[in-house]
């Protein structure tokens, strides 16, 4: 492969805030009905990273979530399973064992998630532990404090170091856009992450509000498009946190299709970091099948 020249991250790429928000609201008005809606709902289901990242997580809960990941809704076994489960490093082994024999990946957050406030060595150890436990994907957080100070080299080197520690595992870089303040910062952080070797860029940890928003996602998708144009390397996208409704999920799919094209519309290149979204998607799918509005009482929580 030819040598990739790394751009000067101090050059701000201007983002038209009004333009981005207008484009999102324009794309949100697109109506998806009937057969295409069912297809889109199933596609969205297959793109989910079923997530549990709570202090009270236990092996039991992770095992239960893994069975939901395998068969999201028992009365309809033909539905796709989700793309991955996302857990803390010390739950990776449990999840790996519970998902043995399925194609479902195990993703683990690492690098002192969610704050990222730790020494590099601690972060590397955290990552290695997760990878050694069997994680297929690592979700790292960037050091937002250093980023906001303008210490871009620090961010770049840190991501590159973690990428090396990941080995075979895919690396998702969480920008935590809720703390980056501006769209320009989101764009810069996206570029740094991609040039430093990210396989995926991800909006949020889900611990900060606002988490994933559509305008932020659009800015990141455009960064991915430009990166692909410059280097020919495809990078995946994962909005995470706050996506609860099937309708929103479909709107995200429209954003991806219109910005990156159909090649990105697979679980390999686009994911939803969510937990409650799963049940809303299932309720909509069952509604489409039966014509009857559904109740959450009939769907398992985990």
């Amino acid at each position: 492969m030819s040598v990739i020249s790394i751009p000067d991250f101090n050059q701000t790429i201007p983002i038209d805030k009004v333009g981005v928000e207008e484009r999102v609201s324009r794309l949100n008005k697109r109506s998806i009905k009937k057969e295409s809606k069912v297809q889109a709902l199933k596609l969205a289901l297959s793109m989910i990273d079923l997530t549990t990242l709570e202090g009270k997580d236990s092996e039991g809960k992770v095992i239960q979530m893994c069975s939901k990941a395998r068969v999201p809704y028992a009365p309809m076994p033909q539905l796709p399973s989700v793309a991955a489960v996302c857990v803390y490093p010390n739950m990776v082994a449990t999840a790996k064992k519970a998902l043995k024999g399925t194609g479902i990946y195990v993703a683990s957050v690492a690098t002192a998630f969610p704050s990222g406030m730790a020494q590099l060595q601690v972060k590397l150890d955290d990552t290695k532990f997760a990878v050694d436990s069997g994680a297929d994907e690592i979700d790292m957080v960037i050091s937002r404090g250093e980023f906001l100070k303008g210490n871009y080299n620090f961010i770049f080197d840190e991501i590159a170091a973690i990428k090396e520690a990941c080995g075979e595992a895919h690396l998702k870089v969480i920008l935590e856009t809720g703390e980056l303040e501006t769209y320009e910062n989101v764009r810069t952080a996206s570029d740094i992450a991609m040039y430093a070797g990210a396989d995926f860029i991800k909006t949020s940890t889900g611990k900060i509000s606002p988490a994933a928003t559509q305008p932020v996602t659009l800015v990141m998708l455009e960064a991915i498009r430009d990166f692909y144009g410059d280097t020919g390397i495809m990078v995946g996208m994962k909005p995470a946190g706050g996506i609860r409704k099937a309708k929103e999920a479909l709107q995200y799919l429209v954003l991806v299709k219109e910005t990156l094209g159909a090649a990105w519309l697979t679980p390999n290149w686009f994911r939803f970091g969510a937990s409650s979204l799963t049940n809303d998607l299932l309720m909509q799918i069952v509604k489409q099948e039966t014509g009857v509005y559904q109740s959450l009482h009939y769907f398992s929580e985990d």
Binding site: G291, V292, Y293, Q294, S295, L296, H297, Y298
Partner: protein, 287 residues
Amino acid sequence: MSDRIDVLKTYKTYVGGKFPRSESDRTYKVNNSNDKVVANACRCTRKDVRDAVLAARTASKDWSGRSAYNRGQVLYRIAEMLEGRKDQFIRELELLGMKSKEAVYEVELSVDRLIYYAGWTDKYPQVFGTVNPVASSHFNFSAPEPTGVVGIIASDEDPLLSIISLIAPVIAGGNTCVILASESNPLPAVSFGEVLHASDVPAGVVNILTGYREEMVDHLSSHMDVNAVLNTIFDKETRKLIDENASISVKRVVHYDSKNWADDTHENPYLILDFQETKTTWHPVGV
């Protein structure tokens, strides 16, 4: 003076503590008893039913968790607010073609009925709860608990009094509800929404939709998140549809045969019990 064009009010719906128009933005004309158009009302359909049920479900947890005493206070507050707006309701009933005397009677009886159910909220669990003798060493007792979300298909007769007679026992028992107001006389129901809004009823406990019944009954009675249906329509086909739809999720269905809403059979704690589930607890003793 007579050259002036009338400004007809478009009555909006009451869903989740707000007054939205129908999702489709469509309205229909409401006539009085002389077939003169007196107002417009929203023509709600499937998606409005969906939104209203969601609002009722969301409100259910808070409302059923309130203390019985507090629910009584809230019902009493509705009665107070209705009393304060008596004149408006009398005028509206007259507009629909009711005689003044009848209108006054209907509004006053409505207020009294609310007070009646306000008094029952902390008493019906005592009356209907039981301590059950069992052979094992358990303290065994049963208590009524709210069913959940109740879909109410309101009557065309006595539009204000009937709707209050239907709502009061349902919410007194800790349920939330979605009401399909009378198709021909929806105005008092919607104005009652304004009263609810001004009293302390939490958003979503009572949701009022207007429109053509046949466009909504099917979706309301088949909705899996509705736990019970209270129907006042006599039409056989409608009753059959409700019964069949309710069977999908095994909803409670109550059909009312009443035509006379002023009748004191509507002041009866058993009407609260219609939308209660019995929970029995086995508590070990002496072990």
